[in-house]
Symmetry: C2
Subunit: 214 residues, 2 copies
DNA sequence: GCCAAATATTGAACGTGTTCAACAAAAGAA
DNA sequence: TTCTTTTGTTGAACACGTTCAATATTTGGC
């Protein structure tokens, strides 16, 4: 339903606008992937899309927003892939590392774009566009839900606050991304290994064995 | 010795160069603190320092480098303050939070500059100037040393890798900085609280109580 | 003191992201 | 239809970071 709704929604004018938006997005994606973020200019995107420079800017707040919008499709695909391939029976540690691996491999395939998207995401947390905000929210909900499920399964002590734990794990994930994407040639395996080691540190603290003597 | 050495070292020309560098740095610091990072232009710094634009660029790779060089003094002062006020008897958790509080309070005092310095630091890890590289190295050494000391005191289990633990704590520290500085009005107390909660999660895993059943 | 090599300094020029007043085209009212 | 209002589109203009060929100054050898 949302397909038809989006395609034929509103007046002629609105549809036209959505179409130019789409054209711009496709041009942007093509150029970003070919040239990388830095070497892609707004002018080039505009020319490639066959519109004026101002049109691009009227559809997207700035270059970084254009990037995040252009990668939205990829992102949803990744989420779907994670949802489809995550073993439902596994413990949360395995699930986390599985999901992370999928993302890291994508990052390694598009280092320049990922780097800049990460930068945009991390440094606009409170001023960010709706796309990134939604992504952040989604990650939080999925993460916390998974942790609570694990908690009910007895993998996590009852006194552990799942929101805090998600924050901690998410923080480590971001940190690994920063370090990994800072490398000239990001190595997903190395990134997974790094995330694994710090996760294990946290896991032991979250595991049911009660640290009763201080 | 290093004082005199630096002040009277080399030829007349080298001293002259160091002096213009110093003048530029002071101008930059003044303008950065008054206007914030975004509203301070290189041209303005050059004019304020009474030199040409090219001179500024010949002394500093780019605007971000100028910022980090301008804040170097503050940074060293902070490190000294941390060294002077950290209770040597306290456990490492208390020491970490104490140091973090000092830094967070500084960040809150200069949100714009801190934000941009953090960005520069995190996204140039492999291409960064000598200052930031040295800072990173110093943080690592101090952190790992403190952790090993705590390990010998029995606060940390022997099987925990202090390098990994430092990585984890440092990652959480950076994450708290990102989140905290993303806020319109960074609140150091809130940041400390956040770091405290995630640190506690890690601490329990690192504490001697052996989680012997998986 | 004089000259050539070395180098610090300079600002005009360039490329790029972003803005904005003007324009064109559709929507809605008459 | 015709007029007014609304709004998507446009590219010239602007501001800023950055570059670089030209200039000014110092150095070191004679």
């Amino acid at each position: 339903m949302s397909d038809d709704q989006q395609a034929t929604h509103g007046t002629w004018r609105e549809r036209q606008k959505q179409q130019t938006r789409q054209i711009i997005l496709e041009a942007a994606k093509e150029l970003f992937e070919t040239l990388g973020y830095g070497k892609t200019t707004i002018r080039a995107v505009a020319k490639y899309a066959g519109v004026g420079v101002g049109t691009v800017m009227s559809h997207f707040k700035d270059k970084a927003s254009l990037l995040s919008a252009a990668l939205m499709g990829d992102w949803e695909q990744l989420l779907a892939q994670v949802a489809a391939t995550t073993p439902p029976e596994a413990d949360y540690r395995t699930q986390l590392l599985h999901a992370a691996k999928i993302f890291f491999e994508y990052y390694a395939r598009r280092p320049s774009l990922s780097r800049n998207l990460l930068k945009e995401a991390l440094f606009s947390l409170e001023v960010q566009g709706p796309e990134l905000r939604a992504m952040d929210q989604a990650a939080r909900e999925i993460g916390v839900r998974a942790l609570r499920a694990a908690q009910e399964r007895g993998e996590i002590r009852a006194d552990v606050d799942c929101e805090v734990m998600h924050l901690a794990l998410f923080g480590e994930y971001c940190f690994v991304c920063i370090i990994g994407l800072g490398q000239p040639k990001p190595d997903p395996d190395q990134m997974v290994a790094m995330l694994e080691s710090v996760t294990d540190l946290i896991v032991r603290g979250a595991s049911p064995a009660p640290p009763d003597q201080r």
